[in-house]
Amino acid sequence: MFSQMLQAGLYDFFFVFIFFLVAIGLSVVMVVLNSLIGPNYRGKRRGETYESGVAPIRTAWIQFGASYYLFALIFLAFDVDVLYLFPVLLTYQKGTAYIELVELFIFLFIISLAIVYAWRKGVFEWR
């Protein structure tokens, strides 16, 4: 399987795969190590949600206003295009130095137009 990947020119994505492996490994190690080396105190109120020192009155699982979702969608706009930046990462050193950088900024500019549109539509005024 490894050799076909090489011929199919997917060799570059091998590094991305290592990158993800290291990321996942690091977080797992941190969580496991933390619970091993530190003493754990299980006080009565340890599990409860922290609400500035007082027992919370009701759970937070209630109907939310629609405005909260709009803010989340705005975040998504930039979050998705990070995915498209990966191919730029791989083909970076082949062309001359500036071509990819300029293309990158044009791409980001087009994405941020979505934010400007949302702003004009009045998403940020809280209703």
Partner: protein, 183 residues
């Protein structure tokens, strides 16, 4: 003077907690170097001592030199500095905050009110609790009303030595006391 166990090997009194799985002394002593230089107190200022704690955090006395950053939530803090008078209405809050702090954790009672009720402790007092150690176990007591920022920093350094060389100092003091008792 009984030999005081180092805090992270024994669960603090009144807390059902387990000591560290990797609780051997060399591992913990190594980790203590990290814990000592990043003691994050919870911003829990109650009364006048809170202003002196703020003064200690500001540019002139600058707590950042010791890696001390004031965190707002107990989830991210190691030290609870009880700075001010503990009234009876505040006791459940202090207990909740203390229990919601992850281990290893320490408590600094700052100011006479937190140590023993201070200027408000007299036998007709109905409103306050005379001292933090009646509610939660306390490691460092900082006298003063309010203690000067330098006194707060000295308390912090004393806590740091307690953590890093806690057992060694305690044992040495115990042997000296035993030696004097024999003479």
């Amino acid at each position: 003077m009984e030999i005081k166990k180092s805090p992270y090997c024994e669960p603090t009194i009144g807390m059902d907690g387990a000591p560290a799985v990797l609780g051997f002394a060399p591992v913990q002593d190594l980790l203590n170097l990290a814990r000592v230089n990043s003691l994050w107190p919870i911003t829990f200022g109650i009364a006048c001592c809170a202003i002196e704690m703020m003064a200690a955090g500001m540019a002139r006395f600058d707590l950042d030199r010791f890696g001390t950053i004031f965190r707002a939530s107990p989830r991210q803090s190691d030290v609870m500095v009880v700075a001010g008078t503990i009234s009876k209405k505040l006791v459940p809050t202090i207990k909740t905050l203390y229990e919601q702090m992850p281990g290893p954790k320490w408590v600094m009672a700052m100011g006479n009110c937190a140590i023993s009720g201070g200027p408000f402790a007299y036998d007709g007092q109905y409103a306050i609790v005379n001292g933090t150690d009646k509610i939660i176990p306390v490691d460092i007591y900082i006298p003063g009303c309010p203690p000067r920022p330098e006194a707060f920093i000295q308390g912090l350094l004393k806590l740091q030595t307690l953590i890093s060389k806690g057992t060694i100092d305690a044992n040495r003091r115990a042997e000296k006391a035993a030696g004097r008792a024999k003479k």
